[in-house]
Symmetry: C2
Subunit: 494 residues, 2 copies
C-alpha cells in the first residue's frame, strides 16, 4: 500500500533531521513539553477515524484501542511534565574553590540530547508503542528529532498519527525535520537507518530477532550508537505452595484472565507458570482448565502474528515431554488464536531450551517441579525477563529467600501477588530487563526515566554564568532540582 521510502529520500530526510536537531536542542524544556502536549491534542482530534483505521488494520477491538489511545495521550502529557520538571537532567554543580591547591574549578553537568533517534514501533501497540508512542515521546522530551519507520502491519494508522505529529510541529513552530515518517516493508530500510551516520540512537519494541539485528548493526558501525530494544519475554510466574493451596480457585481465574488478555499479545504475558507438585497444583490445574475452556478466542493482530503463533505453539507442543493440558472449547475462526495451556516437568523444561522461549500469543506452559530445589534450579536457568512474578503468602516468602534472590537476578520488574500484564506508566515503572528481555538492562522504555536513553551528560568547566544553559545558571531560573556541592536543592547559588 505504501511504497518503501527510497534511499535518496532517506538521506534527504536524515539531513533535515540533523539540521532540526541543532535548532531543537536549543529549545527550552517548556517548548519541548508544549510540543508533546500539542501532539496529544492532535491525536485526540483525529477522533473516530484513528480508531476505525486501527481496527481495520490490527483486529483490535474499539474499546482496547480507545484505551490505548488514552495511554498514548497520557504518556505524551506525563513525559512532557517530567521533561519540564527537569529531574531527569541530573543537573549537578560544584562551585569553584580558587583557594584550594590546586584550585578547584567550577564544574556543572547536565544531560544533553544525543541527536536523531530512529523509532521502530511495536505491532501489538499501534498507538502507545508506535509512531507517537513511548520512544518518540522520550526522544522529543530529551531534545532529539525523531524518524519513525512505520510498522508495515499498521502503516495507515501510523500515517494518520504522523500527520498529527506534523500538525503539532507546525502549530508549535518546531524546526522543519523535527519528525519524519518513513516506510519499509523489508529489513533493508531498518538496516540502512541503523547504519546511517546521522542516526544517533535507536528505540525498538518487537521480536528478539529484530532487536538483536539492530543492536548488531549499531555496534558494528564506525561509531557505535545506543540501541534500546525491548524484545519481550516469557514472564515466569512462581506459584508457591501455601499461596497455591489457600487461593487455588482465585489464582486460576486471575491467571486465565492474564494469559488470554488481548489474546496473549502483550510482552508481559505470563508464558510460564512454575509450581511444585501436590494437591494445590492439581486443583489449580483443574480450575485453570475450566476457566480456559470457556474463554472465547478472538482475532490476533494480523495474519503474520497469527501464523507465527500457530507455528510456535505447534513447535512447543511437539517437544518431547510436553502435554497439552487444555484449549478453548470454541471453534477457531480464521486468524484467531488457539488458547492453549500445556504442562511439562521441571526436568524436561531444564533440558530443552525451546521451552524457555516466548510463544507470543494466548499460551502458557505449566512447569511441574518435584520439590523446591527444582524450582530454584529453574529460576537459575532462566534468561533475562521483563517481569517475574511470585504468588506467595508471607510464610512462603520467608521460606524461599534463595528463590527470591535468583528471581530478582533475571527480571526488570518483580511482582508479588499480582499479574504481570498491565504496565503502569509512571516513574517507578521499569520496563526492560537483562538480555534478551532488552539490549541494555540499565534503561527502561516505559516511564519518564526512558528519556535518559536518548541523552548523555556534558560537563561545563569554568564557564561564566552568562554563557551556561539556563538549567545550570546560578539563579536556577527554571527552579529545577540540582545537586549543588553534593546537596540536592532547588535553591539558587548565591
Amino acid at each position: 500500500m505504501y511504497q518503501d521510502t527510497s534511499i535518496a529520500m532517506l538521506d534527504e530526510l536524515l539531513a533535515s533531521s540533523v539540521k532540526a536537531y541543532h535548532q531543537y536542542k536549543t529549545y527550552s524544556l517548556k517548548q519541548r513539553a508544549d510540543f508533546m502536549r500539542t501532539i496529544a491534542k492532535e491525536i485526540e482530534a483525529l477522533g473516530e477515524e484513528l480508531i476505525e483505521t486501527a481496527m481495520a488494520e490490527t483486529n483490535l477491538p474499539a474499546a482496547r484501542l480507545m484505551n490505548e489511545r488514552g495511554r498514548t495521550i497520557f504518556q505524551l502529557n506525563s513525559y512532557a511534565e517530567a521533561a519540564e520538571k527537569g529531574n531527569w537532567l541530573e543537573a549537578s554543580i560544584d562551585t569553584a574553590l580558587p583557594e584550594r591547591t590546586p584550585p578547584k574549578p567550577d564544574l556543572r553537568k547536565m544531560l544533553m540530547p544525543l541527536g536523531t533517534v530512529v523509532v521502530f514501533g511495536a505491532s501489538n501497540f499501534p498507538f502507545a508503542y508506535s509512531t507517537a508512542g513511548g520512544d518518540t515521546a522520550c526522544a522529543f522530551a530529551a531534545g532529539c528529532p525523531v524518524v519513525v519507520k512505520a510498522h508495515p502491519a499498521h502503516a495507515k494508522t501510523s500515517t494518520l498519527v504522523a500527520k498529527a505529529i506534523h500538525e503539532a510541529a507546525k502549530k508549535c513552530n518546531m524546526p522543519d525535520g523535527i519528525f519524519h515518517h518513513v516506510y519499509g516493508a523489508g529489513f533493508e530500510t531498518g538496516e540502512y537507518l541503523a547504519k546511517h551516520p546521522a542516526v544517533k540512537a535507536i528505540g525498538f519494541t518487537g521480536s528478539l530477532s529484530g532487536g538483536k539485528a539492530l543492536f548488531d548493526w549499531a555496534n558494528q558501525r564506525k561509531s557505535p550508537i545506543p540501541v534500546f530494544a525491548e524484545m519481550g519475554s516469557a514472564n515466569p510466574v512462581f506459584l508457591l505452595p501455601e499461596k497455591l493451596i489457600t487461593e487455588t480457585e482465585a489464582l486460576a481465574k486471575q491467571y486465565a484472565g492474564s494469559i488470554t488478555l488481548g489474546m496473549g499479545q502483550f510482552c508481559t504475558n505470563p508464558g510460564l507458570l512454575i509450581a511444585i507438585d501436590g494437591e494445590g497444583l492439581d486443583r489449580f490445574v483443574q480450575h485453570l482448565r475450566k476457566e480456559i475452556k470457556s474463554i472465547v478466542p478472538s482475532k490476533m493482530l494480523h495474519a503474520g502474528i497469527s501464523k507465527n503463533y500457530s507455528e510456535k505453539l505447534a513447535k512447543a507442543l511437539a517437544q518431547k515431554g510436553v502435554q497439552l493440558l487444555t484449549q478453548t472449547e470454541y471453534a477457531i475462526g480464521e486468524g484467531e488464536g488457539l488458547i492453549s495451556i500445556a504442562t511439562t516437568t521441571a526436568r524436561t523444561f531444564l533440558s530443552n531450551p525451546v521451552l524457555h522461549q516466548e510463544v507470543f500469543g494466548p499460551y502458557s506452559l505449566i512447569v511441574q517441579c518435584q520439590n523446591e530445589a527444582e524450582m530454584l534450579e529453574i529460576a537459575k536457568s532462566l534468561e533475562g525477563q521483563l517481569t517475574a512474578t511470585l504468588m506467595a503468602s508471607p510464610k512462603d516468602i520467608r521460606k524461599h529467600q534463595e528463590l527470591l534472590d535468583y528471581v530478582q537476578e533475571i527480571c526488570g520488574r518483580f511482582i508479588l501477588n499480582n499479574v504481570p500484564t498491565g504496565v503502569e506508566v509512571s516513574l517507578p515503572m521499569h520496563h526492560g530487563g537483562p538480555f534478551p528481555a532488552s539490549t541494555d538492562s540499565r534503561f527502561t522504555s516505559v516511564g519518564a526515566d526512558g528519556i535518559k536513553r536518548f541523552a548523555r551528560p556534558i560537563a561545563f568547566q569554568n564557564w561564566d554564568d552568562e554563557f551556561l544553559p539556563n538549567e545550570l545558571k546560578n539563579a536556577n531560573p527554571l527552579g529545577i532540582w540540582r545537586t549543588v556541592n553534593n546537596e540536592l536543592t532547588r535553591n539558587p547559588i548565591s
Copy 2:
C-alpha cells in the same frame, strides 16, 4: 615475572565471585562504604613500599605518585560517601491507588548491582585508574564483586594494592571472592574474561584498540554485557582571535605546561590546538616555541609507551603538509619522550584522518585556519572527545555560537579558558564522551555517577513493606532521597 592465571583458575575464581555477589548484594550501603574506606586505609598503610614499587615499574616520580595515591584514597572515600548517601540509587515510589479503574499498584524502583565486574586498569595511572581505582571503587559501591586483571606494565604495584584490598575484605568480613586479582600478559586472558558468562560488566581505561576489542567481544556474547571503555582522545583546544591576541604569552605558557604535564601521558592531554591565522597566532607560536624548548624531558611510563610514542610521533610528522615547529632543546635519554610541536593547515588536517588521531605523549599539533569557516569545519569533522576547550573572550563567545554548538556535540567535558589536564573527582565531572572517546557516551568513569555503570533498575510491584529493601520501605530508614509520587523527598511514607 608473574605467570598468567590459568583458565582453570579463572573459572574457579569467577565461580567464587558469583557466590560472593549473592552475599555482597545483600550488604547494606554502610557496609559497602566501610569496606571502601578500609581499602583506602590499607593502601595508605602500604606506605613507602607502594611508592617505591610504582616508581621502579613506571618511571613516575615520587611526588606524582604520592599525589595519585591521594587521589585514589579520595576516590574510595568520596564514592563510599556517595554510595551511602544513596542518591545514585534513583529510588522512586508510586503508592497504590486501589480505588482507580483499573487499580493502580504500588510500584517502587531502585538500582541493583549487575554482578561481577572485570576491571582493566590504565598504564598511566597505576593507582587511580588501576587495581583499586575508579572502576573498582564504583563497582564495590554498586554492590558488585570485582576481578582485576593486573596491568602487565605495573603488575608488582597491582599485586601490592590487591593485597591491601584483600586485607580490607578480611577486616570487613566481606564474602570470600569479593575481589580477585589475575594476571595475563597477552590479550587472551582479557578475551576469556570478557566472554565468560559469570562476568556481567567491564570497566576499561586504555587504548582504542583494547577498548574496542572488549566492546566487540562483550556484544558478541550470547548475552551481551555493558562495557565502559575510556579510550582517550586528542582533546582539541580552540583558540579564538580576541583571546589569543590579548593573552598571547600567558596562553603559550599555560599550554606549554599542559601539553608536557606528566610527559603528555594523560588521556586529557591537549593534542590539537586550532586557531585562525594572524598576528595573534604568529606571536602565540613564537612564545610556545620558546616555552617548549626549555622544558626538560623525562622518562615515559615504560619502554612500550616510549616506543609507541616515537613511532606515532614519527608517523604524524611524516604526513604531507605537517611541519615540525619546535622540540625540546635538551638531549633525549633512553625512554624519554621527545617533546614536540608541529603545525599544519586546516585543509591538510581536514583531508588526513591520521592527523585526527591521538599521539599519546608530549606532542601537540597546531592547526592553522584561514578563517572562521575553516575552524567550524574542523569542529564538525572531529570524532568524539573526552574534552574540548575554548580559549575565548566574552566577545569571542558571542561571535562564535555555531562553533560552540558543534564543539559541544563532540565532547564529554567542555572547558572555557582553562586546560583539559587535571580531572576533578566530583559528582559534576563527566569523564567520557562520544565514541571513540568512550564506548557509551551516557556514562562516566570519574565521579560518583560512575557507579551507575554497574547497576540496573529493578521495580517491585505490590510488595509488602516488610519484604522490600530498606531503601524502599515506607519508613525510609536510611533517610535517602526518593521520588515519592513524583516529588523528591526524604520523608517517610505515612
